[in-house]
């Protein structure tokens, strides 16, 4: 699992790459939350265009990143969510709580 970041003014884009499961979830959550803390961006976008698969461990990764961004009074959105991760997020009802964007 690889994580890259990009800053575009107020927007922090975080791009995990690879499959998210219990094996990598804790390390990814830590890396995401630490990066959000360091950057203190008003807007955080989790770009999931490089995540072809996630199971319920991925739900907690997304929730942790969202909570950390919102805890710092930032906005949070998920971008480019692929069909399988989308279905998992939908099963947990997170598609109604987190804005999904393309781009």
């Amino acid at each position: 699992m690889k994580l890259t970041k990009e800053r575009r003014g107020p927007l922090l884009i975080l791009r995990p790459e690879g499959e998210i499961d219990h094996h990598c979830a804790a390390a990814l959550t830590q890396e995401l939350t630490e990066t959000i803390d360091e950057e203190t961006a008003p807007q955080v976008r989790l770009d999931m265009g490089g995540v072809p698969f996630m199971d319920s461990a991925g739900l907690m990764v997304v929730v942790a990143a969202c909570r950390r961004a919102q805890g710092l009074d930032g906005a949070f959105e998920a971008a480019n969510v692929m069909p399988q991760p989308h279905k998992v997020l939908q099963a947990a009802g997170l598609d109604r709580k987190i804005p999904f964007v393309e781009g």
Binding site: A57, Q84, K87, A91
Partner: protein, 146 residues
Amino acid sequence: MKQEINRFTVRFPSKSANESFARSAAAAFCAQLDPTLDELGDIRTAVSEAVTNAVVHGYRDCIGTVVMTVRLLEDSVVEIKIADKGVGIPDIEAARQPMFTTGGAERSGMGFTIMESFMDELKVKSRPGQGTTVTMKKRLNTRRYK
């Protein structure tokens, strides 16, 4: 009882690195039924949840053996059985409720809910101290073996 067309069984240690191996192996075997990408994604997800449960809950304090059997049945039905000889589940009904977990803050408690919604059928057999067996079935919209 549906006739069996093919099957494979694999045993592996309950290491989290094997979650990925198990879902990929199950999907690769089911590919001979010519499933859709969506169906393969459902199978991969359900297997990942069941194997993770064995790793995280079944063998919470040790490394044990997980046994996965995938059977291809007539009418394009896939049956996947994932068994451990771990601690077992004292209350299966409670464990199957959404958001129920004994795994701490990093677990969503959505594993069984996802297995249920991504597969057509889910059966859980468990005895405290003796282990857990999860059996899931899904009928594929495939052109083969009808």
